[in-house]
Amino acid sequence: MLGVERGRAGVHLPAAVSFAICLCSLLFALPASAFPLKASDTPNDGGGSITLEWTASGPVAKEWILVRRERGGTFAPVTTIEGTVHSFRDGAVQTGVTYEYQLVAQPTNPQLDSEISAPTQAVASKFDWTKLNVLVVSGIFFLLLFFYIWQAQSGVRWTFRKIPGLDAIEEAIGRATEMGRGVLYVPGVQEIDDIQTIASMILLTKVARMTAKYETNLLVPTNSPGVYTVAEEVVKSAYADVGRADAYRSDQVRYITSEQFAYVAAVNGMMLRERPAANFLLGAFFAESLLLAETGHSVGAIQIAGTANVHQMPFFVVACDYTLIGEEYYAASALLSNDARLLGSLKASDTVKIFLIVVIVVGSLLLTFGQSWLADFFSTQ
């Protein structure tokens, strides 16, 4: 906080000086009816701009012509301003050149003109103090992030809460095994470089290991060659991990087509033919979410869905047995991956959430009692 106060005070110092000069010139030089025109450097910008403010007392001109001169030069018009306006930002000046301004009344009436402003320069700021809050919040978050990633890399493991949808995966595969039917895994419709698809591949590892163990048929239709390559590798090595490399068949992972609805039609066809007992819809989904969930529901499969695409969540929530919502979906993949970077990030964002909750509660209480400084600190506009 102190930083802000100091920064702002620093910016306003020349303004105060110029105001004092204005007052002096008011006393000595100009007719009494003229009003002061305050010119100061526009704060927090890259220079090239001077802010003018004025309050005209008594009668006011209909319009003003704002005139400007470099020190020692002659006045030239900048713009025309309506009489009701009280400030103007002149963005057409050069940084480091000294300017003086005056408001000239239109129609001509020297009684209504402003004083000539104190000489002012536009200054380029080295830091935009209005963005200090962004720096503070991201700084705290990133420091926590590096700290927790470092801790996780040195072997620290934290306890996390249970995620019901994650636990249900085993139950669903178990049920499919009992019923002697298969499992369908749809990894979303984005490319392999999408974060949601990557998370899906991590979850696929768990599913594939279980189906290999229980000797349940697993089908993975993909909609991009990139995802196909990775998914095949994931499933193959999962089967090998549990010692059942022989049980892996090459047609378990398939590349269908990249066309959105053609892909959906093909996957729906698979659902109707194979009648899987469990459907996993985990990844980035768009409009196809409701089509897939609808068909899966109609064939009576247990459905576990997960996506971070907010618009699609409602369709999964109403048609699936479990839905991993947004962050839950990422958290599930982080927990399964045992990757220090993902676990550290999860822990760091949890910690920042506590910080934000405290800020909101304290800020609201302060505001209730008329103290707005904490709220103001977080203002960006």
Binding site: F127, F141, D193, A284, P314, F315, S349, V352
Partner: protein, 214 residues
């Protein structure tokens, strides 16, 4: 060389753009402008690369007579003709009477809008076959959906002005609070991934953008 150079390019360009956000001074800001223009151009080239790739894959599939090869030829022809017409017209491509605009209005526009119009039918059928109210949570979801569906059209207002009022309140208070929670969580996720990418801590490169699209 193969790994270090890209690592430093990402690190330096990322840190520079982060700093430029906070520093308005022309020392930083002028070169920031240049860096952004460069990036725009490079992104443009990745689009061209993407289409070159699409063409390559489809030509290969058509050559091998795989599966739906006949449709791949339709795709390739559509692509090449559109490109040929567009480039031959140069800067006049945007004139209302140009052939490129004719292709846009006759082929592109009706097809893309119809693709999404299909979903109106699917949403109705999903409402019937896959909207199960079997828990208090689902009940809340359903009630909110009902109020919104009625409150956002003139019919709801004609029945009673309380319906749009309730819809407004739902949107502005409870809905808003939950969406803000999701927004904050997503922001933390994007920031964490972003800084990991810049610092080279991310194995897989994430490129996806936001939650747009349909």
């Amino acid at each position: 060389m193969k790994r270090t150079v890209p690592f430093f390019i990402t690190l330096l360009s990322g840190l520079f753009c982060l700093v430029a956000f906070f520093v308005p001074h022309p020392w930083i800001h002028d070169s920031y402008g240049a860096v952004q223009t460069w990036a725009i151009v490079v992104v443009g080239c990745t689009y061209v690369l993407g289409v070159a790739n699409l063409l390559r894959i489809n030509v290969r599939q058509a050559q091998r007579r795989e599966g739906d090869w006949i449709y791949k030829i339709v795709l390739i022809l559509g692509l090449l003709v559109t490109m040929a017409v567009g480039f031959s017209e140069g800067n006049h491509y945007s004139d209302v009477t140009s052939r490129f605009q004719w292709i846009y209005r006759t082929f592109y526009s009706p097809m893309t809008s119809t693709m999404f119009a299909l979903l109106a039918f699917f949403i109705a059928s999903a409402a019937f076959r896959a909207f199960r109210i079997r828990s208090p949570e689902a009940m809340l979801l359903a009630i909110a959906a009902f109020i919104l569906m009625l409150g956002r059209v003139p019919l709801g207002n004609a029945i009673s002005h309380y319906i749009p009022d309730a819809a407004d309140w739902l949107m502005e208070i409870p809905q808003n609070a939950a969406k803000r929670g999701i927004l904050i969580g997503a922001a933390l996720g994007v920031m964490a991934t972003g800084i990991r990418v810049i610092l080279g801590l991310e194995k897989a490169y994430g490129g996806g953008g936001g939650e747009g699209g349909t």
